[in-house]
């Protein structure tokens, strides 16, 4: 770990603001402090010299890993949506429900907007985000030029990040299980485990993601 260096330090004492070359600087997105845009070695972390925010943390073969993990998560998502998620039996009746059923639970009358919200938060937005990551970064992993519109697509995946709530849904499922326990017998379907794996894989993929490094790579590989 090292501090990104402070471009003012060398010029301390000069009264007027020094003229700086914007192309050789980066600014901390959190506190606006300028720093030299030095190459960060793989495995190291560059932190903002003022507020300590991690600016860059490139990892070895990060692009390949992010793309692989995001693609894996996409495949898992398909399985998680269509296979039975939970199975409930009470008084001789058995009810299987898939993720899709859970989403459609709000589909009556006034609850309709909630249906769209739930569907978006646990299925649509996570899928969109994963697909966007694969689209924007797969050519990077292979060493090609970025795909067409890779820049807006990657920006979209960044904006979607807080709104993709698959991991929160898993916690919600566990709470629901406890609540139902007194009422009926519950067992997990295959989709539950698939979904749990999906959450894990997504977290791993996000762990390798270093926003600033990805943006720099996208810019460097741009078609001339």
């Amino acid at each position: 770990m090292f501090d990104a260096s402070d471009p003012t330090r060398a010029r301390a004492g000069s009264g007027s603001p020094p003229t700086l070359d914007p192309d050789r600087l980066i600014a901390c997105p959190n506190c606006d402090a300028l720093q030299h845009d030095a190459a960060v070695p793989v495995g190291a972390q560059a932190r903002c010299h003022r507020c300590g925010t991690v600016l860059m943390a490139p990892r070895e073969r990060a692009m390949t890993r992010i793309v692989m993990l995001a693609a894996t998560a996409l495949v898992l998502m398909v399985a998680a949506v269509f296979f039975p998620f939970l199975e409930l039996s009470a008084g001789g009746m058995v009810r299987r429900s898939s993720l899709l059923d859970a989403v459609l639970a709000f589909s009556s009358g006034m609850m309709l907007p909630l249906t769209f919200a739930t569907a978006a938060l646990i299925i649509v937005l996570p899928t969109l985000r994963l697909a966007g990551i694969v689209y924007a970064l797969a050519p990077m992993a292979l060493g090609w030029h970025p795909a067409r519109h890779a820049v807006p697509v990657f920006r979209l995946t960044q904006a979607l990040r807080p709104w993709a709530m698959a991991e929160i849904f898993i916690v919600g499922v566990s709470v629901a299980l406890v609540k139902v326990a007194g009422l009926a017998k519950l067992s997990f379907g295959p989709a539950f485990w698939t979904f749990a794996a999906l959450v894990l894989v997504t977290v791993l993929s996000d762990n390798y993601m270093c926003r600033l490094t990805v943006w720099k790579t996208l810019e460097e590989r741009r078609r001339p």
């Binding site: 402070d6 003012t8 603001p17 700086l20 914007p22 192309d23 980066i26 600014a27 997105p29 959190n30 506190c31 606006d32 402090a33 300028l34 003022r50 507020c51 300590g52 925010t53 600016l55 939970l86 409930l88 009470a90 009746m93 429900s97 859970a102 459609l104 639970a105 709000f106 006034m110 609850m111 907007p113 909630l114 919200a117 739930t118 938060l121 646990i122 820049v151 807006p152 990657f154 920006r155 960044q158 807080p162 709104w163 709530m165 929160i168 916690v171 919600g172 566990s174 709470v175 629901a176 406890v178 609540k179 139902v180 009422l183 926003r211 600033l212 943006w215 720099k216 996208l218 810019e219």
Partner: protein, 217 residues
């Protein structure tokens, strides 16, 4: 600049002080007057215009819809012809009655502590960074930075209870024995979470550090 520099944080040259504009999304630095980042295409603003107005607007909207979320039922359980209504707090009490203290704690933290804590934290941040604020000027900057990061990270976890309702309503459709359906509070609670998430996202974290710079506009 008045007051001691806290925690040995060196006064830094910011992009704005140097007459440059930094991109919030990718960190690239541009000369002033460029509207769109050349690296990532995001709109460039030295400081987001109207950041605090948006924060206050979303925050008040979030607080307003949080009130019905607590008064009206979140969950309607019909069992053998009798319907019971459960508010958010009612659900927590029921879980305690079952003896599931851990789960009751999760729901309580997610549905009460986090939203209320968020209202207070966002309101506090918006108050202390406004131009001319007297409270703790130039001190505790790292603390505020951490508060902002925590608020941004933790806000979405409030959605747990809404998802619980969704799963229960999907699963428990056992005709006569038991049927669970969502109440209107589920809608207003999810809106409250969404609005406070938007409030946190509207906040420009660079405003926290402008207090140290002493050049808040």
């Amino acid at each position: 600049m008045s007051g001691p520099v806290p925690q040995q944080i060196p006064p830094a040259l910011t992009a704005r002080a140097a007459g440059l504009v930094a991109c919030e999304s990718c960190g690239r630095v541009h000369r002033d007057g460029i509207a769109q980042c050349q690296r990532c295409g995001a709109a460039l603003h030295s400081r987001r215009p109207g950041s605090l107005q948006k924060v206050w607007a979303w925050l008040f909207a979030g607080i307003v819809v949080y009130i019905p979320a607590n008064i009206y039922p979140m969950l309607l359980t019909t069992s053998f012809g009798r319907t019971t209504e459960n508010t958010i707090i009612g659900g927590v009490i029921e879980l305690i009655d079952y003896g599931s203290f851990g789960v009751a704690l999760i729901v309580f933290v997610a549905s009460v502590l986090i939203p209320v804590g968020k209202f207070i934290a966002i309101g506090y941040l918006a108050l202390v960074v406004r131009p001319g604020a007297r409270i703790g000027r130039g001190s505790g900057l790292r603390g505020r930075q951490h508060l902002y990061e925590v608020v941004e990270f933790i806000g979405r976890w409030s959605m747990i209870d809404v998802f619980v309702v969704a799963i229960l309503a999907a699963l428990v459709q056992l005709d006569f024995a038991a049927t669970i359906s969502p109440g209107i509070a589920a809608v207003s609670f999810s809106l409250s979470v969404a609005f406070t998430m938007l409030a946190a996202q509207s906040f420009d974290p660079r405003l926290i550090w402008d207090a140290e710079e002493g050049t808040a506009p």
